[in-house]
Amino acid sequence: MHPTNDSGDFGNALLSSSLLRAPSSLPPQKPAAANSGAQGAGMSSRLQPADVFPDTYDEEDDCMEDSASNGLTLLPTAQYSDDEDEDDGGGLQGIYHSLNALLPKHAPNAATSSVFADARVVCDPHTGQATLLRSTPTPFSMDERGDEYDLSPADAALKLTRVLTEPLDAVREGQHIANIIGHKSVASEMKDKAGLAARSLAIFGPEEQYRAYQAAIDRQAQLDEEMAHSKRQKHDHSAATESLVSPLPNPISTASARSREPQQFGHSKYSLPPESGDFITCRNARGKSLYFALRSDIDLSKQADRIASLRGDARMSSSQVNRVVADIETELDTALALRDSERDMEMLDLADTITSTQSTRSIPKPVLAESRLWVDKYRAQTFLDLVSDERTNRAVMQWLKEWDFCVFGRESAAAKRPPTHARSSTKDSAVHFENKDKWKRPQRRILLLSGPPGLGKTTLAHVVARQAGYGTVEINASDDRTAAKIKDRVLGVTQTHSVGMTAGSKPQLLIIDEVDGASAAQSAQGDFISMLVKLATNAEEKGAPTKKRRGDQRPLLRPIICICNNVYAPVLRPLRQIAQCYHVYPPTSARLAKRLEEVCETEGVAADSWGLVELAKQNEGDIRSCLNSLQIISARAQKVDSDCLKTASIGVKDVQRSLFAIWAMLFTRPDASSLTFSRSARSSLGKRNANGHMGNASIDREYSRMILDSIRSSGEHERLMQGCFENYLRMEFRDLTHTKVSSLCSDWFEFYDLVDTTCRKNPSGSEGLFAYLDYPLLAVHRTCSTPMGLSRGDFEYPHSEFEAFQGRQAALGIIQSLMSSATSARTQSTLTVNVVALDLLDYLLHILSPQLVTSNKHLLKGEERNRLYRLVEVMNAWELSLVQNKDDNGQFIYRLEPPIDRLFGFTAQRPSRPIMPMRYPVRQLVSQELEILRVAHLAAKSSTEPSDISGAADAKELSKRDYLTKLFADPLAPAKKCHAVDGEGDELSVKDFFGRIVTKKKASASLLGGPNKEAGKARDGVGASSRAGDSMGRSHEWFHFFEGFSNAVSKPTQVKELL
């Protein structure tokens, strides 16, 4: 049957034959698992373009033969699973392919099991031939793929057993085969696959199988005759290879007869596409295209009816499914007949068949236009095709050309014309020329392209490299992230220049895509980026004239182009400094639209240019997503226009409606046109329009539904409600009696607050309440919407909540600073924020705001002076101060610090009553007095630090007295003033160290007064004051010690004085 090839494997032949014999030993009546319905339910018809499988046995059928005038019928499927598709390289391919091709068709509904993929049988009704079409043949021959040789026959055998045996038998057969072959791996594989085989068997109905088996037995004898005939032909190689499809009317003489006929079928009828109607393109073994016209269902049903009537099986014609089942049955008959014929073949014949089928199996992969993405199809091929910004393109090209001397050994055009040297960073261009190293490489040896995704950076790199004569090697840094892995590849590419040149191939250029995805993690050899940097800079050192070409570390002699999205990624920092960086900007939408238009023209898609511009804008210049969108849209609709873009959610990047859009909806009273917003609403509108009527109520309903949808999809209830709440009073809706507003506030807003608060407090417990958050918004819409929408009212984004929050934080800060300045422990313990805010502040500010008019200290009269003193004291106690700084107009003002007066001002207005004396000079006076008091306190504190308790209190009194003396020291009437102050001081209540109120005692003054007076004289003396002596009582003599120097004077004395 098959032409033989002498290199056939005996073992395989043996195996095959033994296998083929096995089914005969089985009773054919044995029912296979009959759950074919369940299998069939999951099946789907996959009519994918397919390839003519060359070494298939063309199946002929007597029924088919009768419908010879019908042209081509595509039977739905004949497929087997993809994973096994990989394995078929073995000798029995021809057999099992044809068999397998037929198997699934025995499913009752004739659909394809999803397990099987991409193959089908084409029957030619003219000739009665059935041709197996496979989409993905594996184009290898035995010579090339010797290693798969052993496995394949096993698979083939296994697949045969699927047809013919029970699962258990399949296992047995599999083991048998494995034993014969002697491969352990095969044996184990067999066991695995036995289960699969059993499943395959399940799709056979027992009845069909039985019938098929009977038919096969009937034809046995006739086939035997044919075998004898085919043996005579077996050495005819050419005939074998041409045996692809040869029309022969007699089904009995199929295989052998066909192998004699040279390929008439492919050349005569199907070499040209049919004049009308759809067709499918296939390729035969020689890569010749064949065009099969597709028939409509009517044709198919007619044909099937005829088949059914011929077979006299009325049941089959009842439905289309049954018709196809009929076809399947005939196919099965043929297959089984074939199998029987083969079973009787000689071993040698089998071996020859194996080898010959192997050798004929080199089929070009089908190239089918529709299967390609437009993105790939219309990828820029030449420099002129590039859509990206031309300046960038040129700059990249220029940079690459600078490598010409190094790589190709020729002077680059760019190097010859230094003035036109177009670099974006011109500042180093001068240096660049002087620094030319031995290889005249560019100064920056790595090019870094950056830009948002989809702009064609990778394409740019590839195109430029190809144009400049490089072969490209692309490394995706996102995939192999480890530095060590990439290093090998980088070094391999960049340092093998001589080999590349002598081999006649192109020098290679390295493209590192998504370099920002490189891991920053340190490995043993450092991270990837620093490795790149080292590569570039190392080469630089070596390129210096003194030490060229040092052995181990070779210079970088090939350009590297890195591509990233974010040039400012932290990982790239070191690379950025040494690399030539170019940013790829999105092309203008006009330019992009032009390219899209070209694509549309080529594809035959009608597109209006405005729509394309729209598409380009929508995708923000992303060529890739533009093309993808275009392809998908064109697959759905014939015409691409702006409407189509709006409706197709595909082209739109952001489908969520913005908050403003929702607010606009909320405040707009709907009319019929406003319903075009949502698709669902439009569809329902369309329905009603079809009825010829749509009332306002229904419009309202639809619109409300739209609003609800939008609100739910946005999910920002809080923000939406804030926006409504802040703006609803600005809307000019009609509400003369204010009943609407009052009901809105009292009912809905309150309800919203209630629900919202509950939800926030206990989110998990109140899930059911979340749904109600939408409806208050709808109530706002019902109440406040106007036909004008937002256009009339001055709608503002809600920010009052944030402002309130900020204000609250600020006020809290002020209150807390005031609390912390409360000096006494008792006060501190009772102060809380609430107490300060509600109880303390009001009164405190009253206290702080006495009536002070005079700003000159010396002119202060009794009562006013008292008030000043009091104010200063209180301020000191609360650690308040007046800080001078400039206001907005540049004038100096005194501000209270901490600014507790602000706690009483509402929204930047001046407080209703003056807090503190407002006039600047008065405040200045207060501030100065406060300062003096502070200094006096400080001094007192430091001097009495190491004193006992009463001493501290006394010292405080003393310091106060001092301060007061100084404060009111009047040169004109000192005594009187002092006296007055003394009287005043008695009234003061001053806290001592523990915050207790201490009234000043005269006694303490007198106590201290005595020694002070007495010490007055001694004060200019030093050290041992007379106070101690006083305590001795009787000593009036003392030794006055002169510290530091001697008073001794040597004085010349003459003898005359002595006389």
Binding site: P946, D948, G1023, A1024, A1028, G1029, S1031, M1032, S1035, H1036, E1037, W1038, F1039, H1040, F1041, F1042, E1043, S1046, L1059
Partner: protein, 118 residues
């Protein structure tokens, strides 16, 4: 040429004390220091040092030998007209008491037990 006679009678020599102080002796008594009154006392200590007690002050001092001894002279007017002036050597001072450190304060017992300042 006049001749000054120094009468030196070893037996009549008196003991004089030269005191050098870093400071001055003061008093607030009406008569001041002029009145011949008890002012304080100087003690010789066992270790050869001295101390001066003035009022509540105790000034420690030391005995320093003078490099040149000093003589205390008393001028004797001439007994008759035309006679010679003579000097009588009252004493010869060979060392001095020097008080150059700051005085301590002597406190009474009841004052000592008072709460300490520091």
């Amino acid at each position: 040429m006049s001749q000054i006679e120094f009468a030196y009678d070893k037996a009549k020599l008196r003991e004089f004390c030269l005191i050098e102080t870093q400071g001055s002796l003061e008093t607030d008594r009406p008569g001041g220091l002029r009145g011949q009154q008890r002012f304080g006392q100087i003690e010789r200590l066992a270790d050869g040092k001295v101390q001066m007690l003035v009022g509540v002050h105790r000034v420690p001092g030391s005995v320093v030998q003078l490099k040149k001894p000093l003589a205390v002279l008393i001028k004797q007017p001439p007994a008759e007209e035309g006679g010679d002036t003579s000097y009588r050597i009252e004493a010869i001072i060979r060392d001095k008491f020097m008080f150059k450190v700051r005085p301590d304060v002597i406190l009474q017992q009841e004052l000592v037990n008072m709460p300490s300042v520091s």
